[in-house]
């Protein structure tokens, strides 16, 4: 009898621990637009609903495909930005430091609309 109670205790603990940890694994809010900046200036904003290829003046190419974004080609020496792969969740960023390019996913999330 005593043993049985203990087992259920452990089951309960396991469930509670799993619940607590699940907070960290909740899916992140999906982004809505991607904002591409060069040297701090926004040069393109694209809706993630539409696939698109964005060619920047320095030869960098950004691909929007199936609601994900990645840098497919860069003229920088290290090509780290290409290796960062796909981003799609709110707040995710791909940086190309040598070319001062940032590619950031932005959310729908406005609290109100004026106008």
């Amino acid at each position: 009898m005593r043993e049985k109670v203990k087992i259920w205790d452990f089951v309960l603990i396991a469930i509670l621990v799993a619940l607590c940890l699940s907070v960290w694994f909740l899916p992140k809010e999906q982004g809505n637009t991607v904002s591409i900046s060069v040297d701090g200036t926004v040069v393109a904003v694209k809706n993630l609903d539409q696939d698109a290829v964005v060619d920047l003046s320095d030869g960098t190419q950004v691909l929007v495909e199936n609601r994900t974004v990645r840098v497919v080609h860069s003229t920088c020496p290290d090509h780290l930005c290409e290796q960062m792969g796909k981003i799609s969740a709110c707040g995710q960023v791909i940086l190309c430091v040598p070319n001062r390019i940032s590619v950031e996913i932005r959310g729908e999330g406005v609290d109100g609309l004026v106008g």
Partner: protein, 332 residues
Amino acid sequence: MKRILCLLCAVCLFFLSGCSARTTEAQTWAYDTLCTATLWGGTDLAAVFSSAAAQGQSLLSEDGLKQFTASRDGDALQISSDLFKILNQAGILYTMTDGVFDLTVAPLSELWSVNTATRPPDGQSVEECLDLVDFSSLTVTESSLTFAKKGMGIDIGSVGKGYGADYTVTALKNAGATAGIVSFGGNVALFGTKDGTPFRVGIRDPKGEASEYFGVLSVTDTSIVTSGAYERYFEYTETVYHHLLDATTGYPRQSDLLSVTVICADGAQADMMSTALWLMGSEKGWALYETLQKTEGFLPAEVIFVLEDHTVRVSDGIRENFTLTSDEYTLD
């Protein structure tokens, strides 16, 4: 074992409590428009919001209508201290815009009735109405307002919603609300923060659908009002007639601005300023904005101008809080 269990439960509760703050969604009608609010903290806030919206409206206009109108020559009205302040600011704007912005435009607004009209009024009627539009003929004291002529009136349209949104915020704070965002038909007032982060407010894309915005402001404790000719207008023989009237000509004003947004702690001021700046156009409007920053009786304000050529001009003090989200527009 029990102790561990208790500890785990406490940890779980801690996580859960951090996840969701209690919010109230409220809706009411005032100034012929839908007024909405999302509020944090407090209790019974929906009721507070509705009654404050109605009360704010009656402070500006006794019968809850859109304007004060004189029923005879020399008609005098009792006014609230808030309306006195508004009339003072309106008087300054009247002078600085050479009469283009005129709070006594009520008879003209009525004549045009842009919301329901299908064709413009005839020239004769416009001329007759213009005789009744003259802010300089008003006599204003701290407690009264006297109209020179029968038929003159104050058009609350360019000040009421900004004032009203502001007024409800004060009432909501007094009722224990810790944060909130209030919208009176697109005139926004907000206070507090959402778990420490500022509110994100989209600014309507003047060329887009009602739900589309071209940029986002991250702000707190302020009012935001946008004016533009895109919302209320009618078309007649391929000409667009909108609601922003030039009080010197009696006809809708031509402006090279698609919209003007004013961010200011005083909602009534923001409402009137956005209208006046839009009427003046990009060059004169910006100069007027800079002058008002140094004018007594006006609170500091920030502005966002959207020009016809889709460039967006943002005043220095708000630049870091503004993000362009549409590539249809470019920052100046």
